[in-house]
Amino acid sequence: MDGEAVGSEAVSEDSGPGRRHRVHGMLKLYYGLNEEGKAEEQPESLDPCDINGPHFDPELFLNKLRRECSLAELMDQETCMVKQIRSLDSDMQTLVYENYNKFISATDTIRKMKNDFKKMEDEMDCLSANMAAITEFSARISGTLQDQHAQITKLSGVHTLLRKLQFLFELPARLNKCLELQAYAQAVRSHRRARCVLQQYSHLPSFKGIQDDCHAIMDKLAQELRQKFRDGGSSAKDLSECVELLLQLDEPAEELCDKFLSHAQSRLESDLQGLEAEIRPYPSASAMKDASGHRLSSTAAAGSPTYNSPKTSTIPSPTSNTDILEFIDRGCNEFVSSLCLVITSYQELFINHAQKGELASKNIPQMANGKLNAFVDDLAARYFSLVERRIQEEKGVADNSLLVRALDRFHRRLQAVTKLLPGSAVPNQGTEIVIRAATERVKQYLSALQSFYMDSLTDVRQALATPRLSVASASVAGGGAHLGGPASGRDAPNSLPELLSSLSASILNQIKSVLASVHLFTAKDITFSNKPYFKGEFCSQGVRESLVVSFIKFVCQSSRQFCESAGDKGGSTPPALLLLLSRLCLDYETSTISYILTLTDEQFLVQHHSPVTPVTTLCAEAREAAQKLLNHYVKVQGLIISQMLRKSVETRDWVNTIEPRNVRAVMKRVVEDTTSIDVQVGLLYEEGVRKAHSSDSSKRTFSVYSSSRQQARYAASYTPSAPMDTNLLSNIHKLFSERIDIFSSVEFNKVSVMTGIIKISLKTFLECVRLRTFGRYGLQQIQVDCHYLQMYLWRFVSDENLVHFMLDEIVGSSAHRCLDPAPMEQSVIEVICERG
């Protein structure tokens, strides 16, 4: 019964897990079944009073209960225990029943299986008997067929041999036929197949005969192939086939290389000739033709007989109307692509092919490579010289994009050659041509800019020449009402500021457009733009230095030339132009130069690897030019007025002049001119600062300022005893007054310019006066004139004392040179001057 309980326990495992577990545990306890591992898991159940524990001692438990519990509790305990026992019993009964049922069904199943296996065993026996029968039959059949099979094998071997022999015997005829049909490839293929065999059995006379026949035929074939090769009328594909066959026929590879190349050369030559015909033969190219001729002779010496012929038969084509893009296109499509084709087929034939075959041992690839490189270099050089000639013809700067596109295409197509011939110098040469073309283009742009600048200057000059009168008369508006002359003339459209702004704007626009054109060279989609030259040197040296900086320098330099050339020819440059240019240079210094350079740097992302001209240098140069121009302007204007004054002083007889009634017309003219100059300068330059002076300085009269000293001087002159006093007095005065630098540099403002001009004029006046001798009225006329000048000139200068002082000096000098120095009454002078 015990064993069955254990078995049923195993069977009952698939009942509800929770309950099963509990029941299982309990049953195990009940039956004292305790595996060693499990005992350790329940150390708590060592308590002998634990009713569920394995060490339960009923005695102890009972005693304990009796000791510890009351009767009621004992009763409860008892009831509880009875209830538990009852439930355990019923559980056990259920389990036993279930296990029994399962055991019964298992027994049934085993019995059924036993019956089935018996049936299968019988069938297997039957099968093995059948198999044995089949094996026996098969052995019998193969035994009967063996003889026949051996016979068939032998027969087929004989057949093959016979076919081979037949092929050999038929070979001469077949080759002949191929020769007739010009199926050279097939002939060579056949011959190659037979060649080894023939070689091997050549000691047999019949084979020997065949071999000889074949040789004769093949020689003929090779002859024919060579002929075809020489004729050269065939296409590249035919030709390469030819070469391939010849190579297979053990022709010397070197000779073939030469022949192949010379043939290819003649075809490329015709391409080049076509290109050359496109180029307009221009007479000035003699030097370059010499150069190419020189090279030609040197390469001809290297051994290419076909080289000279096309050159000598150059047809001077009529004016080529194709543009450079078309030209380059044609060059690319015809020359470069066929060159590439030649290179490819050549490499295919002599290099790649040879490397695989038996020819590799003979160093043929190296030899062939060398030949190819020389060939390509030679032809490419000629092509490049043509391209360069064509590029040089591209003089106009109008359409740069065409050139750039042409160069791009040129460069791009050369990349194919690079891929085919990695070691070749051709792409580098091509890049150099592109670089040269680019630098040449930059130069052309520079000269275009320069001529544009000169043209605009001419325009300005003309514009200045036409409204000159109106500008002069505009002086009236600014100069005061001392003349009732025509007050119009301000309407001139070509006023100086407008001219200036239009000039500088047009120059700037031109620079911008040129920059934009040049920028095409570095556009991203152009293949050569990522060459290091175009990234670095072209931007910094080419564009920035030789284009922009050179142009700015040119502007400054040409401005300076205006100063120098005009000095000798006596004002061939209109003064207004000098003023305008001065302002232009000054504007350049302050803003335009840095703007242009920043623009350039931004557009071209210039990275300055090499030292470049800094902005400050250019600015300094521009400023220097501006200063020089302005100084020159002052000088020219001063000298014009000087001339007027000098003539007026020199041509007059100052001893025998009448009493002054008027201011001399020359002085009015001087004031007028000064005023117009003032207006002119005011249009372009700021006012500038004056030295502080009293507000009513205009009221202060010249004589008040100087009369005391003058009187003293006259007085001294009368007394014969003290002639030295005069000098002494003036010398002392001189010590205390500032030294006046006449032709000194001026500042960039109106007042300074005007001060310069007036200083020059008055100094001239002074010097002239000192060379003359005056009568009484002569002196008085000078007094009147000086007062008049004083009345009008003070307002133009930075320090009116300067005018006072110089005029004072003039009057003093004329008094000194006067035979009868009797000065005029101040009031009379004033009246005369007021009257105008």
């Binding site: 000095g567 006596g570 000087s642 001893v655 014969p720 006449i742 032709f743 001239t764 003093g812 000194h816």
Partner: protein, 347 residues
Amino acid sequence: MEDDAPVIYGLEFQARALTAQTAETDAIRFLVGTQSLKFDNQIHIIDFDDENNIINKNVLLHQAGEIWHIGASPADKAVLTTCYNKTSDSRVVSCAAVWRMPSDWETGSHESPDDSAHNPQTLELLCHLDDSAHSNAACVLWEPMGDGKRVISLADNHALLWDLQESSTQATVSSTATLEGKGQLKFTSGKWSPHHNCSQLATANDTAIRGWDLRTMSQIYCIENAHGQLVRDLDFNPNRQYYLASCGDDCKVKFWDVRNVQEPVKSLEEHSHWVWSVRYNHSHDQLVLTASSDSRLILSNMVSISSEPFGHLVDDEELSEGEDNHQEDNQSNKKKKKVLINYSSFE
């Protein structure tokens, strides 16, 4: 000389004329002519003693008028010419004359140097270099290194070649040349070339420089627009026969090769006002002295166009002398300085 103070000589009148006495070989002697309208004009004879660095002076009266130009005879140290303004009847006339210094001026001055100014002797008039047709002499030029028999006077637009006879008491016009052209042309300055056997003359009028052949009295070259403004003075390089220096109102000093009159050989623009006078140093022709009304004298060392382009260091002495004279120049007291139209101004 470097540590010596500059020697200054003061005149009581303004002066525009100065020359060196070339006939005097023993002493360094200058003649200065004064300009005064109201008093008798004087000729100051200034001896410079370069050993003691002092100056001796003598004064002679020149009563005819204020002196604009002065020239000393190359042969006779007592003979000189002046161009002067004479005022008479409220008219100013420019005249030229040959004068002889009184023979005893030297002894007199040595005895009583102090009162020489108070008791000056008068020049003795030898002859006038004027005739009725030609007046207004601008300058009188002696034949360089000649025997003191030939002079040229430039009057208005005529160049007159005079022969002096009977110890310079008689002057006759031997030939004349006339400048012809539009307008009122007038010679402003001139120079007798010491080269070509003294047969060439260079003159300046307005902005042009002209060369004349004295044998035919015809023009041989003309530098039009030599200067932007009036040409004030000329000088020949004493050693290079075709080289000529000029100066003018455009503040420039230019050096010309008269065989090529298109371009100046060199142009200097150091002065800031009119350049009145230019002179070569007679023994070192790389040294050129210029005087200007900007109150400056500039001594330039033009080695590149001198007759001794290489080597021959310029004496420090002479350079420093030039430096000294960069200062205010009431009087130039230059050793070996031949002529300086001394622009003694109010300064």
